[in-house]
């Protein structure tokens, strides 16, 4: 295994992980009370993000990835609530804080950007004023200083003619420009970490690349960390150095992106990887995952993926596998994580690919 990690890394494997982590989730549960029961959307998720690091949070719809991010930012959509665990931001547990104080603390350490930049911007406020708002209102800058800061930020996210754009309204900008403005707003509070929820899903690939480049540059040059929630493994692969794969409200595998994507140790990761079409090489058939995701209204016994898992054994159905370390940062919540060579079919192949390469 070690050869894998020592191989030439395409990403500088994040700035050396130093100091206290900016964001820690410990066993966080999120539930949504519904007329027919409580939807247990996030089930004991723990993760850690450092400044300067790019962490990917990947899963399909209903995996709980977005709610995890919202929970971290204390922006859960009503009626979802955190029902367990703790959120630690910049070394302080915010779970017990008063709402206003928590808001203050969280937003000074982290900022968030959303999938749909058009709806995330106030339609009746000039974009410059929206960028200048935090410097002016929260950082106590003078009007002119805040304006200068906003212009700076617009330049930093790659907006040309900032003076002119400053007075534009959101609807007058293109989709990519709007997302850049959102990033500028996120940066305006000088956060150590940006939480991004599918920030490029609504964008065309050419624009997506530009926006991801901006986020990448911010991380490299200014050490702004990134937690990127996405369904797109390819986006994570080109952006993030660490990766958490979520399924059924839990993290099922975590580790360095490269390791995870070349030698996955959870059958779900392996299957997901095999179902993604490769733009560079056509295959005759893509691997599919039979069955459907678990019903999160019900308690889940054993491993949530067991009903769909090609490598399932009896134990999987009764006993939930813990997220156990496989050495280093790599961990997998699978009873058979140690024997990928014995997984059947294409899932096994995917897991072994990296080892054999």
């Amino acid at each position: 295994m070690s050869t894998l990690v020592d191989g030439p890394l395409r990403q500088p494997r994040s700035t050396p992980v130093t100091g206290t982590p900016l964001l820690e989730l410990h066993d966080v549960d999120v539930e949504i009370p519904l007329p027919h029961g409580r939807l247990h959307a996030v089930r004991g998720v723990s993760l850690t993000a450092y400044a300067g690091q790019a962490l990917g949070l990947v899963g399909e719809s209903g995996s709980g990835k977005s709610l995890t991010l919202r929970a971290a930012m204390d922006l859960l959509p009503s009626p979802a609530v955190i029902t367990g665990g703790s959120v630690v931001v910049a070394g302080t547990d915010v779970t017990g804080m008063r709402p206003a104080q928590r808001r203050e603390h969280i937003s000074s350490a982290m900022a968030m950007i959303f999938q749909d930049a058009l709806t995330a911007l106030n339609p009746t406020m000039r974009i410059g004023d929206q960028v200048a708002e935090v410097p002016r209102q929260r950082l106590g800058m003078s009007r002119s200083a805040a304006r200068a800061r906003a212009l700076d930020l617009l330049v930093q996210v790659g907006i040309r003619d900032p003076e002119q754009r400053y007075r534009a309204f959101p609807h007058e900008l293109s989709g990519g420009m709007r997302q850049r403005v959102c990033i500028a707003i996120a940066l305006s509070a000088e956060p150590g970490l940006i939480l991004a929820d599918e920030p490029t899903t609504a964008l065309d690939v050419t624009i997506q690349k530009q926006v991801l480049d901006v986020l990448g540059r911010l991380r490299r040059d200014d050490g702004v960390g990134l937690v990127l929630v996405t369904h797109d493994l390819a986006v994570v692969s080109s952006t993030c150095s660490e990766l958490d794969v979520m399924y059924g409200g839990r993290v099922v595998e975590e580790g360095l992106t490269e390791v995870l994507l070349s030698a996955p140790r959870h059958p779900y990761t392996a299957a997901l990887l095999r179902s993604v079409p490769d733009p560079d090489a056509p295959v005759h058939r893509l691997l599919t995952i039979p069955g459907a995701p678990p019903d999160l209204l019900q308690p889940i016994e054993g491993c949530a993926f067991a009903p769909r898992c090609p490598a399932v054994v009896d134990r999987c159905r009764t006993e939930r596998p813990p997220l156990a370390s496989l050495g280093g940062p790599h961990a997998s919540a699978c009873w058979r994580a140690h024997e990928p060579e014995r997984w059947p079919g294409a899932v096994g192949e995917a897991a072994l690919e990296g080892v054999l390469r």
């Binding site: 395409r10 690349k209 797109d232 493994l233 070349s262 993604v276 490769d278 893509l286 995952i289």
Partner: protein, 307 residues
């Protein structure tokens, strides 16, 4: 006309008897073609606009496109949002009457909307699995309505044929009695495919059929389309913004940008040796697992230079 485009290699007749190998470029006669197709839309709010005495804004969605789809092939139509690919596919499906140009089904030009027989030749699969099914009709009703109206099977056999169609797309027969809302996105997309197949078409036009689906579900639909194409001998116009998906499914691709086709050719040829600048940009922008930089591009180079 695109048939004359040098890169298609459509001249070579190389159909081995019986064997239909995908991606090998086996090409038959023309089944669907558009020639000099132009579709302009007038801007909205025309009533107010007219009162204000302003000429309505014209959107040139498709601005002169020639394309030919041959029997047994899958033509991928790729491009980014607003490039006109969706409009083009709707023109080809006979849903829009083009501003100018000709649409031909089986070498016969359409005059206005397709007639009943022409409708049977070309069918369409839509993008949104949630809005593409009438929420108030069961799957069985949706399918039997078409079978009955087109008198495809004797009335007594409609029910049986509905069952066959549902089976064909890999759904259990009991699906016939359920409303669309009881299905997941992937299952709905199968129903949409069954609806298109009910008319036993020769050509399937699929407009972004997998872009609203999760990756693993997306794979099942792609596999289904590939299988159906082989078993039923369909020709397919596959419209997508997703380069990776198009690569899997198409024999030939056409790249659209700003209402025109900027490049057209065999899929592997275009992917490996793109000629047009826009195609290159598009390919370079596609994120890849493994993060391997795309075939050397200007963007990647400058980025490396910055480091």
């Amino acid at each position: 006309m695109s048939g004359t485009s040098p890169s298609t290699g459509s001249g070579s007749v190389s159909i081995g008897s019986g064997s239909v190998s995908t991606a090998s470029g086996s090409v038959g006669e023309e089944v669907l073609a558009v020639e000099g197709l132009v579709q302009h839309f007038r801007g909205r709010g025309s009533a107010w606009g007219r009162l204000r005495g302003r000429p309505p804004k014209v959107v040139k969605a498709v601005d002169g496109v020639d394309l030919v789809l041959h029997r047994g092939e899958t033509l991928g139509l790729v491009g980014e949002s607003g490039c006109g690919k969706s409009t083009l596919s709707r023109c080809a499906a006979g849903l829009y009457t083009p501003t100018a140009g000709v649409v031909r089904y089986a070498r016969q030009p359409l005059h206005g909307a397709p007639d009943r027989a022409q409708r049977r030749l070309v069918q369409m699969v839509f993008q949104d699995p949630y809005s593409s099914l009438n929420p108030r009709m069961t799957v069985g009703q949706t399918l039997s309505e078409i079978l009955t109206y087109h008198r495809l099977v004797p009335r007594a056999q409609v029910r049986a044929r509905v069952g066959e169609l549902i089976d064909l797309v890999g759904l259990p027969t009991r699906a016939a009695d359920q409303l669309p809302r009881s299905f997941s996105g992937g299952q709905r997309q199968r129903i949409g495919i069954a609806r298109a197949l009910a008319l036993e078409p020769q050509v399937l036009i699929a407009d972004e059929p997998v872009s609203a689906l999760d990756v693993s579900v997306q794979a099942t639909i792609i596999n289904l389309l590939l299988d159906l194409k082989e078993t039923l001998g369909l020709s397919m116009l596959f419209v997508s913004h997703n380069m990776a998906v198009v690569r899997q499914i198409s024999d030939r691709i056409a790249v659209m940008h700003d209402g025109v086709v900027v490049e057209e050719g065999d899929t592997s040829e275009v992917f490996e040796h793109p000629h047009d600048d826009y195609t290159r940009l598009l390919l370079a922008s596609v994120p890849r697992i493994g993060g391997a930089p795309a075939p050397a591009t200007a963007g990647a180079a400058t980025e490396r230079g910055l480091r």
